[in-house]
Symmetry: C2
Subunit: 481 residues, 2 copies
């Protein structure tokens, strides 16, 4: 922990100076191996393996119990069978450990006996003034300072977690681990923190969201939740968070059948406790339905967490510049489903498009179908139409629907980026066509701050997210004027 | 055309013995080059370039007009400026051409003058008893016998169009071309035909759907439409088609704003003419909202066009076998949104899962969370749980949610495939985790007939599609018993 850091109890989880790993082992098939091997590779503080059956693990001296450690670690990571966890947690309390992360499963998610064990360790921690994270989770990842606690071995993981401004919170362990592998390792976005909170015997989504709201490296948060432990307090935390950053929530358990499924999974009562979709929206969060949507909004906000500039009072007017009329039509339906409207371009905009971009025989409209213009004038038609459309004061955001082909090499990315920066309006791009050019297009657009999605519905959703957050911040700033 | 083929007027488009290309040119920047170059590479019949300014094109003798051709071609593909098209169509009529495909734009989609031109060529064709396809389209692709008419150059395209059983119909030219490049070339699915119908001056979606219904190589159809020309007849054609094959429709223009957009795009009145979502569903079609959904169902039905076996009277009971509890919970919500229910597993199924798969401390339920069992027994837990769950007579379909990792190499694909074949029930798989193993997983599952999607919502949609079609065919067969 840096000395200048505010002393939040959760700092001992996110920025410990020392970590004990209870259940550390050199057996490569075990989670206790993965945890210590990952830490030894990337964590910059002290690491103490704890295992009564070993004298050293991976070349590091091993201690028979937490009580025998040379000093109290800031954080103890516990991965031993459930029935042995209460004793370990007592040892931690006695030793003066500040934070315990229990990754083991076999607690409330497996029935009454497990629930009793969970109650016991939560009570021990509470009485000792020690915070407890988990059980039944993969723990957390911090990109700065580097910390990676999950029990899957990812060689070099700490180094590869690209440092960013997005925080991910997920209740489910496998999902959180899957997210990290699928999205982090492939550079879909960069993160500040990733948190798998599991059964939430003590530390819950409200605690974590509050911590992230005060975290200087976090600028946007996405949460996957199966249950909410303290409904009112969570909604208050969401409201506070959205004053500083966009918050996106995938709240499972919308239906009766999924609530039952959640109960048997993380042992939680998924009863919403007042946290229905409407309440979440009122608190300023964006609610989504699928992991792909959650990650897409995460990507969009990681690339641009600040609120965009709005031009219209409604703040929901969108222009579409497209090379495919059909794509524009389908997108119009998807925008409407999300409460967005096609902007009515002003007569002056239409006149400029006609004179400077469109062929004579074709009248411009929104969606702005530039294919015939591109055939006639090349990619200058794209560059010019973006300039003209962004200048329209009836346009809040711009959706681009270009075609990926060999032409991607000649796209006027730098000029587009310059125009977008000048107007400060939201922009999102689709990509379709020749897949061999998707990645190049994607990277070039990312460089100028425009997220790209291969699904029109994700494009519409990202635009909805950008404009939603911009409206939220405008209302909030109006309150203070 | 093979002599044994039934003589449908549309055969002259799909299986011509000879093709004239009006507007053929050696200028590589022009569509008229792409059309002839593609044909010379892949088409097995006679090809005649037509262009008054050339004596040969790409080494083939060129004719100044259709009238000068040595004989009447079965098909004339026309790609010249709009104002020259009426003369060309008259020449075709005079010569006795059977089918004219007009790819040129500049007709009803650009206003009154274009609409008059379009009316003129449609009248010429009608009076001559000649069918006219287009204008303002990219034409069609047939995989057997090979025919590729679009005006974008794709070297080797004819060879690479993998022959399959799915037909694609799309009103919008760029979209149709984009689909072909994006989905066909990357092997997302294999097709029998791909049809871009454009402004539909004569041949429309009803004609094409009827043709495909009688086509021996087509087993499933996906349609992207911005307008429907003859509502009642189209619905009748859909009903007839669904007696033989699954039909999926993306009908754009659901909202007022998109209807306006469609009008300026393909010059069509998108007024539904009775073809609302409800009517389409009643006729047996599946309706989707985005291209990604249309293509996903196309992929699912291309892999399995036959109706699956249903076990329950409702035919909507789904089992989920998952390594992530969280994925199972979110999927439960998405299934419910589509009218699907989590199957209530019978006591005997639960008993077998407990005894043969699950660890003692964990009680099985649906979603069947096999992660702890996999940790204990390895991938045998997956194989065994699939066998047990498919045997349950309360289960109509199975969703698999496995994790992609190095373990993909050891997945029991062959055994899974054998079990699935034995029960004849619908199966769809998600994939998440380490992207490096997605493709391998995908291909291996495809080999055993299970479509894989990286979005849970597409998995739910594909299962919905499979069960919808199975219910439809069950009802239909009951009528005849």
């Amino acid at each position: 922990m840096k000395d200048d850091a505010p002393l939040d109890p959760l700092d001992f989880f996110f920025r410990p100076r020392s970590v004990a790993v209870v259940g550390a082992t050199p057996d490569r098939s075990k989670g206790g191996y993965a945890i210590i091997a990952n830490l030894l590779e990337g964590f910059e503080g002290k690491v103490w393996p704890v295992n009564p059956g070993r004298r050293e693990v991976l070349g590091v001296p091993c201690f028979p119990s937490v009580r025998e450690l040379p000093e109290a670690p800031d954080l103890a990571v516990v991965f031993v069978p459930a029935e042995r966890v209460p004793g370990v947690v007592r040892d931690c309390a006695d030793k003066g450990v500040r934070a315990v992360l229990v990754e083991s499963g076999g607690f409330a998610e497996v029935g009454e006996r497990g629930a009793a064990l969970q109650e016991e360790i939560a009570g021990t921690a509470r009485r000792a003034g020690m915070r407890l994270w988990g059980p039944n989770c993969t723990g957390l990842v911090n990109s700065d300072p580097p910390l990676f606690t999950p029990f899957m071995r990812l060689p070099g993981m700490n180094m590869r977690v690209a440092q960013g401004n997005l925080a991910i919170v997920a209740q489910s362990g496998m999902m959180a681990a899957g997210f990290m592998i699928q999205y982090l390792l492939t550079g879909y976005f960069k993160v500040s923190k990733a948190c798998a909170i599991g059964n939430k015997a003590d530390v819950d989504e409200t605690d974590v969201l509050r911590y992230l709201t005060g975290d200087r490296s976090t600028r946007a948060v996405v949460l996957y939740l199966e249950s909410v432990s303290r409904g009112r307090e969570f909604l208050r935390a969401v409201r506070e968070a959205t004053e500083r950053m966009p918050v996106v929530v995938l709240k499972a358990g919308r239906s009766e059948q999924s609530k039952r499924a959640a109960a048997s999974h993380t042992g939680s009562i998924a009863g919403d406790d007042g946290v229905a979709g409407g309440a979440l929206r009122q608190a300023g969060a964006l609610r989504v339905k699928d992991f792909g949507e959650l990650m897409a909004l995460g990507r969009a906000f990681a690339m641009h967490p600040e609120p965009f500039r709005l031009s219209t009072p409604e703040g929901n007017r969108v222009a579409v510049i497209t090379v495919t009329g059909g794509g524009g039509v389908v997108l119009s339906d998807l925008l409407q489903d999300l409460g967005l409207r096609l902007a009515d371009l002003t007569p002056s905009t239409l006149k400029r498009l006609q004179e400077e971009v469109f062929p004579e025989w074709m009248g411009p409209a929104n969606p702005v179908d530039i294919w015939p213009a591109v055939e006639k004038r090349g990619l200058a038609a794209l560059e010019r139409s973006v300039e003209i459309v962004l200048a329209d004061e009836g346009v809040d955001g711009l959706l681009l629907l270009p075609f990926a082909s060999r032409m991607v090499r000649d796209y006027p990315f730098a000029a587009l980026g310059e125009t977008l920066r000048r107007w400060g309006k939201a922009a999102v791009s689709w990509v379709f066509g020749d897949r061999r050019f998707f990645e190049q297009f994607d990277r070039s657009m990312e460089d100028i701050g425009v997220p790209v999605f291969p699904d029109l519905s994700l494009c519409a959703l990202a635009m909805h997210g950008y404009l939603h957050y911009a409206r939220l911040r405008r209302r909030s700033s109006e309150r203070w004027e």
